[in-house]
Symmetry: C2
Subunit: 344 residues, 2 copies
């Protein structure tokens, strides 16, 4: 007995020396790749004068040639012994990139780190036109001009503060009472903004579809603008999407025409933050999402919903994963996925 | 003796059960953040008509407001028990992003995965204007137009094929004899291209300096266009940059005016692929880098060099980390860093 005890101690000590305490992630591989997209050739464009050094004469460059465009980028972290049956794909929202999932404005690690610790292999993607997915010349390839989200729009649209509560001076901004957003780090959050186009939805959908086809079976957690793409991909590959978590999704296919029978085998969960009722814009979005969810249930599917203030969790913004209590919210999602039998 | 042997076997078996076989990475945390940059306010710009759905009337959008611009993005993977004394910072080259280090065109994991396995905590960044660092409206914030690298330029400039050996049809392209580049995956590599500007060098340098100040002490491995930024940051923080590996660097500060005494305590290694002499452009760059290296040595610094064909490793392109034998090249860098006393 005494010998066994000593053996156990020795094993634990040696295990610690080997660096395999349970607080570490056991990672098999990290990497990334691009999925989808197409080749295009530009021709007949005039040479362009490009400025390299302000004040110096511009250089002439020929903009014609072959390009690869409209691919999606994804980065993966594969666990050696995942506790989930399928990897988790994290899809960002509008005007943002995969950074949404990697970090919080106060510098703490984001939901990617949380879900890795919870036992999921995790993929974090940048949609067409965003971040490492890259963007293409317009109007020749992308059909319109990009637009850039001002901080005021993010502050108010993401329900951090009320309409007209934004001010250029950080100290003069009035956040909603009891907000969970780390308000002092709002400008740090604004660095995550990425220009977007209004005309790339078909290319973005095609790349997401190719992504699901390549990587899944999987679970998708999607935020905001990404919802529409995720519902459509689930409808295209209902056997490959084993669950879909719609975090503050702002869009979906038309609930009056969508074929819910195709996705009734894909359990879905909607997660909402606080203060939806204060903003008519969000009230309309939530109502549309409720119609979609209701039709899914009516077709025999699982369409669950967590409205955080209804379960006593107050002050969450549209950027749930950035909020100070975001790990608590992630925990609810992890629990729901376990309830669907998606963990070992 | 027999008992000790049994104990050792038991420990190894239990360690395997705990999932800490030496083939797994022991990761303490993954995350990312933006560093540097500045706040700008745009005002007085007219409303813009933006197209969301081709065919439908455009929407009006006000482009004025506050923005965060010119930050650098970095992602980190921190090992629980690194074998290196300092983390490794991987800096990409021109027209590319941090993806350079994450993957190879054939889909295999890249140098980031290699160096993590070799015991380094690794940071992979996107410079100002690239990837997840994001880009800003021009000409109001960025002072010129972006440019896009055609595939022909990458094929020839990166020494995969000779001048005029590129063809739109993959089967009609003629690579240099014995190239190590995975030629069949060239179009997949081209998806990594990111638009660039010629006028952002001061902002890029400022962000890199802020990055080194925040994250280091560290070792920097830098590719191509990034070289100039890394040499300058090392000069600004010579006590924080513990070594600098210049992989096919295309630029450096002026060797006639650079203060080499400041960086003589920063060991530096230049790594070059094959076929430099076939391209006058690369011959000139290599000569300039040799002048820089010579002046460093003359000032009492360590300026080592590996020209791969000189040590019997042939066929490497400008994109060493994409080549089929790239792990062999990474191994030489790892050995050199160990020789500088930078591993435990």
């Amino acid at each position: 007995m005494a010998i066994n005890f000593k053996l156990a101690i020795a094993v634990v000590c040696l295990a610690a020396l080997l660096g395999c305490s349970t607080s570490n992630l056991q990672v098999a591989e990290v990497g990334s790749y691009h999925v989808g997209g197409r080749a295009v050739t530009l021709s007949g464009l005039p040479e362009k004068e490009l400025l390299f050094t302000p004040g110096a004469p511009p250089l002439k460059l020929n903009p014609n040639g072959d390009f690869e465009v409209e691919a999606l980028y994804t980065r993966y972290t594969l666990l050696a012994n995942p506790k989930s049956r399928y990897p988790l794909l994290l899809w960002h929202g509008g005007g943002l990139s995969g950074v949404t999932w990697e970090t919080k404005p106060d510098g703490a690690p984001g939901w990617e780190n949380y879900f890795l610790r919870a036992g999921y292999s995790v993929y974090v993607s940048d949609a067409v036109e965003r971040g490492r997915a890259s963007w293409a010349r317009y109007p020749e390839i992308f059909k319109s001009e990009p637009f850039f989200r001002p901080k005021k729009e993010a502050w108010e649209l993401f329900r951090i503060g009320d309409t007209d509560s934004y001010n250029t001076a950080p100290a003069q901004r009035t956040a909603l009472p009891g907000t969970q957003f780390p308000v002092a780090a709002f400008d740090q959050f604004a660095k995550q903004s990425i220009p977007r186009w209004g005309t790339n939805d078909p290319a973005t959908q095609a790349a997401y579809d190719a992504y699901v086809d390549k990587v899944c079976p999987c679970v998708i957690v999607v935020h905001s603008q990404g919802g529409n793409f995720a519902f459509n991909s689930a409808s295209k590959y209902p056997d490959k999407v084993r669950a879909l978590v719609a975090v503050e999704t702002s869009g979906s296919p038309n609930p009056d025409t969508f074929d819910f029978a195709r996705v009734k085998g894909v359990p879905m969960l909607w997660v909402w933050g606080d203060n939806l009722g204060k903003f008519p814009f969000w009230g309309r979005i939530a109502a549309q999402q409720e119609k979609f969810r209701g039709n899914l249930i009516a077709a025999g599917g699982i369409g669950d919903r967590i409205v955080l203030p209804d379960v006593g969790i107050k002050g969450n913004t549209h950027m749930l994963m950035m909020d100070r209590n975001s790990d608590q919210v992630a925990g609810l999602i992890d629990q729901w996925l376990a309830k669907q039998g998606l963990k070992k």
